[in-house]
């Protein structure tokens, strides 16, 4: 092999080594204790006050993951049909050459643009984007069409900065309003701790969800809303704020462009009207608005994280951001605060690997940023790639690389995805797991685990920005490699090595840190290096940096107009439910990271099943009792499950925990356990919110049939 990449683990036996968790995409700062080359203890990075030594259960299961053998152990090339599970174990040289030979053929025939790649976004995308840029392809996608894409594009359309362009100062808020944002289960350690600190200090939480989550337990006010009616609620809230002149007049006059249009759009959306749509009593909406106005501007209306729910989810996020703006909850403690780069606060910004690579001028296949100017081209809309795979339009995609991303688990309708993938000349999965997508791939490249690899460095823009490191703490247990090495090797073998011309990870780090004043040793020692100690707040009268053309908060978005879409559309209720049918909603628990950790030995024993939640009234009509065996029907699909009859769900909805029902045989603990909700989202690749691009996952309608009484 070409380098000694497996030997850079620090010689720090028994000491706590700071690094970055990799059990989910939150990537918390952690510390690892290694003895005799094996990790023996994980905890939160105690150098980071907001983190302390805390972990979530997934983070705590990191050693269990590391010790597990049920993951790809060396490169594999498929020999049977796709998905047959017939593989040949090969060397890295053979696997890389195999891939490169096919990539070169595709490049020769269709150009570099015919190569697409998706990952789960996050702070390391400089690497994957640089790889594609070197190939001349614009077709980078993150997973956000099945996650935060609607919230992201909504934020861009109104503030001119994306979802992560604003931080939420939860610890100092007086009232936080969460729309299905299950903050203590779909969790980020530091966010949960800030949330609890806020509650301890007397903050209120209003929680809006068709389902009782553990977050609902922590809310002063829990509205069990009708599924898909959240935009109607927001329109009534805006109506009340404007009708009673409860907004921050100085802030609104200074920063909001288009208030008249907003007033016009909510003229008839009274709380009484919203009561009919949402099921939330009008008086409660009135009281809520009065109450929250008293705490403004130190309030947070959370625009959501997982927002791929229905075809107006974009406008749920957008109207939520509008409410924040009306209350002046921008750039104040306890509200939304612009993130700052190190350079914004007197430091130096990290250099991007992509800076040294020529720009790509090809159009994207999904039309993001061009035909669909309202979709951020930086993240793309991945479900449109499948349309391209089916039709070859606007041009052919020959290769798809899924890097630590499992679209067959994350996006709707895996069978339709597999069918579309048939047109690919090459499908590669780079992952630490046998994902559903890996199992369909032509080549699996095993990435070293987060404890076994170093990554490129990370710069986190925040009110107090910082740099962060993931450093290798142990040698890989199997024949796996870090991502930076894999992508560099692929480029080198395509004679594009000059675009990623680094010998080892420290070589990359030195390049990235030029001009930051930060030293590698410092990062290695602490895990995180801050640029300033305290959050920086901009001048709220003149210093706010909205990225919109007008420099203001734009109620009417030029990009939405260009796309022929309304900026303030009327609420459109979901299609009425036929008798005996339900909307299939989904969610998360603290112990699983979607489908990623379902096979983890210590997590699998916690979540052994995902029964279908159904309301007692609905169950009674169908003659279903708690524990009965049932079938869930979606179009011509039927899957077997059993019923959890509970008042904890809206009568119009049924619920499945996401992440189960896996089919990959080598994952013995996960395979055939529970039900995969995405398999019931038939036709779901083409159901999406046109404004934000996010999939409309809860528009899946199912019926339920009892098949057998509960056996005692």
């Amino acid at each position: 092999m070409t380098t000694n990449i497996t030997d850079d683990a620090q010689e720090m036996d028994g000491q706590l080594i700071p690094t970055m968790c990799g059990m989910c995409a939150v990537r918390c700062p952690i510390e690892v204790q290694v003895r005799d080359g094996k990790p023996v203890w994980l905890q939160g990075n105690t150098n980071v006050v907001a983190m302390g030594s805390s972990l979530c259960p997934k983070g705590a299961a990191g050693i269990s993951f590391e010790q597990d053998d049920e993951r790809p152990q060396q490169p594999m090339i498929r020999i049977g049909p796709r998905g047959s599970g017939q593989w040949r174990k090969v060397s890295w040289d053979e696997a890389l050459d195999y891939i490169v030979e096919r990539l070169n053929k595709i490049r020769k025939k269709c150009g570099g643009r015919a190569i697409a790649l998706s990952d789960r976004g996050g702070p390391f995308i400089d690497l994957t984007k640089s790889f594609l840029k070197a190939l001349g392809s614009p077709n980078y996608f993150d997973h956000d069409c099945s996650c935060g894409g609607n919230a992201h594009n909504a934020s861009l359309s109104i503030f001119g900065v994306g979802r992560l362009g604003m931080a939420y100062d939860i610890a100092n808020t007086k009232h936080i309003i969460l729309y299905g944002r299950n903050i203590v289960e779909s969790l980020q350690v530091m966010e949960v701790r800030a949330f609890m600190a806020a509650l301890d200090a007397g903050a209120k939480c209003t929680y809006i969800d068709p389902r009782s989550t553990i977050t609902a337990k922590y809310a002063r006010r829990f509205w069990r809303i009708r599924p898909g009616a959240d935009y109607a609620l927001n329109q009534a809230i805006i109506h009340e704020i404007l009708a009673n002149k409860l907004y921050d007049k100085a802030f609104v006059d200074r920063w909001i462009e288009g208030l008249e249009s907003l007033e016009q759009s909510v003229k008839t959306t009274t709380p009484e009207w919203a009561e009919k749509e949402t099921g939330i009593p009008a008086q409660e909406i009135r009281d809520f608005v009065q109450e929250v106005a008293k705490d403004a501007p130190h309030v947070i209306f959370h625009p959501g994280w997982m927002t791929a729910r229905h075809s107006q989810s974009f406008h749920v996020s957008r109207s939520t951001l509008i409410i924040n703006a009306l209350f002046g909850a921008i750039e104040v403690p306890g509200g939304l605060i612009f993130v700052k780069s190190p350079a914004d606060v007197g430091g130096g910004n990290m250099k991007h690997l992509a800076d040294a690579i020529p720009a790509v001028n090809e159009p994207r296949v999904d039309g993001a940023g061009s035909e669909h100017p309202q979709w951020d081209e930086e993240i793309g809309i991945l479900h449109r790639l499948y349309e391209t795979l089916r039709t070859g339009k606007p041009y052919k995609i020959g290769a798809y690389i899924a890097y630590r991303h499992d679209p067959l688990s994350g996006l709707s309708d895996p069978e339709a995805q597999k069918k579309a993938m048939e047109s690919l000349d090459l499908l590669v999965s780079i992952d630490v797991n046998y994902s559903e997508t890996a199992w369909q791939a032509d080549v699996i490249l095993p990435e070293a685990t987060y404890l076994e690899r170093s990554n490129i460095l990370v710069q986190i823009p925040a009110p107090a920005p910082f740099f962060m490191i993931r450093q290798q703490v142990m040698k890989p247990r199997f024949d796996s490699r870090p991502a930076w090495w894999i992508f560099r090797e692929l480029l080198r073998r395509m004679d594009l090595g000059q675009y990623m011309d680094f010998e080892d990870i420290e070589d990359i780090w030195r390049y990235q840190l030029q001009g930051t004043g930060v030293k590698i040793e410092e990062l290695r020692k602490k895990g995180i290096v801050t640029v300033t100690d305290k959050p920086t707040l901009l001048d709220r009268d003149n210093g706010l940096r909205f990225g919109t053309a007008s420099g203001k908060i734009e109620i009417i978005s030029p990009n939405l107009m260009k796309a022929g879409l309304e900026s303030l559309p009327a609420y459109r209720p979901l299609e009425p439910l036929p008798d005996g049918q339900f909307r299939l909603i989904f969610g998360k628990v603290a112990q699983l990271n979607h489908a990623q950790s379902t096979n983890n030995p210590l997590l699998a024993e916690r979540v052994t099943d995902n029964p279908l939640w159904i309301h007692p009234e609905a169950a009674k009509k169908l003659g279903i009792a708690n524990g009965d065996e049932i079938q869930i029907h979606s179009a011509d699909q039927k899957v077997s499950s059993h019923a959890f009859v509970t008042e904890g769900i809206h009568p119009e909805a049924v619920y499945l925990l996401h992440g189960l029902g896996r089919t990959v045989k080598p994952q013995t603990r996960a395979c055939n356990r529970g039900v995969a909700d995405q398999r019931l989202q038939l036709g779901g690749l083409d159901r999406f919110d046109p404004a934000g691009g996010g999939l409309a996952m809860i528009e899946t309608v199912v019926s339920i049939e009892k098949t057998k009484e509960k056996t005692v």
């Binding site: 983070g59 705590a60 701790r193 603290a590 916690r606």
Partner: protein
């Protein structure tokens, strides 16, 4: 009883089970036993998880420790210095007497080693001046571990108020 108090604030617990997972990792346990457990309890007349309460159940390290009395080999012992009841694994013959005897489910079966296991408050960590695994990583810091004569402020406040002495609260 042990001289420690492992306290749980159910009003800040989100039942994430990081405590259980970290405990298992530290004690090198396979799927099966959970030496500390978050029990979810709910009123009989409710089917709504909203009404669930969370109770943390470690071993209580009882003064009259039934497990210790029934152990035929002397594998279950009490540490003189702090009262921790623990199993000396080398002496455990896997007879399960302690599992039968413990009313709290603290003694459990490890299918891997075919021996009994129980919470030892991570006494190896205590001896290094650290806190038990569960407490160290608790997501919300709803777990606390203190000498029993130094109750956490939250509890001393509660007890003093219950006793009608709010002025005692510092």
């Amino acid at each position: 009883m042990s001289k420690y108090y492992l306290s749980h604030n159910p009003e800040r617990c989100v039942a994430c089970e990081a405590c259980e997972v970290q405990c298992k990792t530290h004690h090198d346990l396979s799927p099966g036993p959970n030496l500390c457990q978050i029990q979810r309890i709910e009123p009989e007349d409710s089917t709504d998880p909203l009404n669930q309460g969370f109770v943390f159940m470690p071993c209580f390290h009882c003064e009259e420790a039934a497990c210790l009395h029934v152990c035929p080999t002397g594998a279950i012992r009490r540490r003189e210095k702090d009262g921790i009841v623990y199993i000396e694994s080398a002496l455990c013959i896997g007879c399960k007497s302690c599992i039968t005897a413990c009313a709290w489910g603290a003694c459990q079966w490890d299918p891997e080693t075919k021996k009994a296991v129980k919470c030892d408050y991570c006494m190896d960590r205590l001896d290094e001046g650290l806190k038990p695994s569960c407490v160290t990583v608790c997501l919300t810091s709803c777990l606390d571990f203190v000498p029993a004569d130094q109750l956490p402020e939250r509890l001393s406040k509660h007890i003093n108020q219950a006793a009608g002495h709010p002025e005692v609260v510092k």
